[in-house]
């Protein structure tokens, strides 16, 4: 098995824990001494660095929230001087004010290495042509993957987002073997390619997709793999962690979280109790080595499972399974929690509907009303109204069973739902308007 950093990636679990404890202890001392924000937070929580005497003591430390970054806009949480900073990224802030993240040279190096390990773990390396179709600029996706791909000696094709037809031409002409983008953008590319007469499976050298920046599902993976003839890997991260950080290994059962950089806890999202490995809960992330913008017990808001079972690939670092959804994305429909990813999961297992969907939530009188718009797939289209009505009932029925909430389904024309180049917006919630 080829690895980027065999020594770290196969470090025995006990050694990893010792290393994590040492890094955590150092970090807490440093922040308590030099960061007014963390000093104050720890005092409020009545915890002193001397109270951290084991890795498990991490739970004595106070949480950090996205709101902390917004409230301290732009850079009041930074713990590096301007001379030490070498880059900013700015997150668009879908909810409220944008947040700014900063990096020292050491931060960029760790970020890039994290991606280098991940890209190698899914089989990429020297000789691969990696098309980076994430946005370049303030968003972390483009530049992050750019440098990660360069580090492993691959050739980067920095197409960024947009101009899809040109992206497909370049993919063919320069023999791209891998593409990094959101799963929704790849679906869009596949459709545009077919309109141009290009069948990605046959007419390109693409073998690998590194897909993320939005939640997706395993059934979507199967569809993409089959349709485009590639292996599709999940990638995970957020700007607070540095950017995209972790990529699935060839096992495709979740991404290894590099434990020398990141400590993950899984908590019950309501009680805040620590959950055992294998239990589903909210991820809480501590970045052990970040210099410019430390993160301690950051409530990232994502829901998943930490898998500590040994991985057949030989890497000892635990894996996070595919993200089920963000707490922020969760819809409450008539009191029932619904994640858009559940809707996707259900729809993708119904061959009669296409890959795109849209959820519209409205309030009818006192009741929430959830409408799911789906495009009927080419093969399923029947000239008989009855057949179409049956497909619609089938979709409604399956969604109701999966979500425990009644859903109205609307069949729409193919291509009529919005396509996205970056992160997709699949939910329209009109209740707050």
């Amino acid at each position: 098995m080829v690895m980027w950093d065999q020594q770290i990636e196969t470090m025995p679990r006990d050694d990893i824990r010792k290393l994590q404890y040492r890094l955590l202890k150092t970090l807490v001392y440093k922040l308590y001494s030099f960061s007014p924000f963390y000093h104050e937070r720890m005092k409020q929580a009545k915890v002193h660095p001397d109270d951290i005497n084991s890795l498990a003591d991490v739970k004595k430390l106070p949480f950090m929230y996205k709101a902390d970054l917004r409230d301290n806009y732009p850079d009041r949480l930074f713990t590096a001087s301007r001379e030490e900073l070498v880059r900013y990224h700015v997150s668009s802030g879908t909810t409220g004010k944008p947040t700014v993240v900063g990096y020292t040279r050491y931060d960029l190096d760790n970020w890039t290495n994290s991606l280098a390990r991940g890209l190698v773990s899914c089989g990429l390396g020297r000789g691969d042509v990696i098309q980076v179709s994430y946005g370049y600029g303030l968003f972390t996706g483009g530049l992050g993957l750019h440098y990660g791909a360069e580090r492993i000696g691959a050739t980067v094709l920095p197409t960024s987002v947009g101009n899809t037809e040109r992206q497909i031409e370049l993919m063919q002409d320069l023999h791209a073997t891998a593409i990094c983008c959101t799963p929704s953008y790849l679906l869009h590319m596949g459709e545009v390619a077919e309109k141009m007469g290009v069948i990605i499976k046959k007419d390109t050298d693409l073998t690998t997709g590194i897909l993320g920046a939005e939640p997706w599902t395993d059934v979507m993976r199967s569809r993409i793999q089959e349709w485009l003839g590639i292996r599709a890997y999940d990638i995970y991260g957020t700007s607070e962690l540095s950017g995209p950080m972790f990529v699935e290994c060839t096992e495709q059962k979740g991404f290894h979280v590099w434990s020398d950089l990141t400590l993950v806890e899984v908590l019950d999202k309501d009680t805040g109790e620590t959950l055992a490995p294998g239990e589903r809960g909210e991820l809480v992330i501590t970045m052990l080595q970040k210099e410019a913008l430390p993160m301690i017990r950051f409530r990232i808001g994502d829901i998943s499972v930490l898998d500590e079972e040994p991985c057949p690939c030989g890497r000892t670092h635990p894996r996070i399974r595919r993200i089920q959804g963000r707490v922020d994305d969760m819809l409450i429909i008539r009191g029932i929690n619904v994640f858009p990813s559940q809707v996707e999961h259900t729809l993708m297992s119904i061959p009669e509907v296409g890959q795109h969907f849209q959820i519209v939530v409205d309030r009818r009188g006192a009741l929430d009303d959830m409408l799911v718009r789906v495009e009927i797939s080419k093969d399923a289209f029947s000239d008989k109204i009855n057949d179409l009505m049956q497909i619609r009932s089938k979709v409604e029925h399956k969604l109701r069973n999966a979500l425990n909430v009644g859903v109205t389904v609307e069949l729409v024309e193919p291509g009529s739902l919005p396509r996205f180049e970056g992160k997709s917006k699949k939910v329209i919630d009109r209740r707050n308007l």
């Binding site: 009927i376 029947s382 000239d383 008989k384 009505m389 069949l411 024309e413 291509g415």
Partner: protein, 144 residues
Amino acid sequence: MDVKNYIIRQISVFSENKPGRLASIAKAFQEEKINILAFSIAEADGFGVVRALVNQPDKAFKKLTSLGYNVAFTDVIAVKMKDEPGGLFEIAELLGEAGINMEYAYAYSGKEAAVLIIRVDHVDEAVSRILTKGGTLLEAKVFS
């Protein structure tokens, strides 16, 4: 008798039930200089299916597909009726006696005669039975 001669390829288009959709389809036909010979709209809650017999079905299929429409070909047959009171009854009775179950039907009254276009489950069998019963079917080439 070759049954195939009587099987007509109808073009069926999935359409949302909202203003402007029919115009968009009709415009596509106009741009490609495709003549519509017969046409109907079936509607359900929120969506519909536009069905048409056109003189260049392949061209129509290609054009609509390129515009992103979900399009399918459906085999139908066209039964000639007398354009006078009782014309439909005569044919409907014939179809009933022949044991033919219609999925759907629509009609037009043209220059030469009235025509009932029907979609049935087993088209080959239906053609033979109608002809045996003495009905008149229009050949597919009439529509090209």
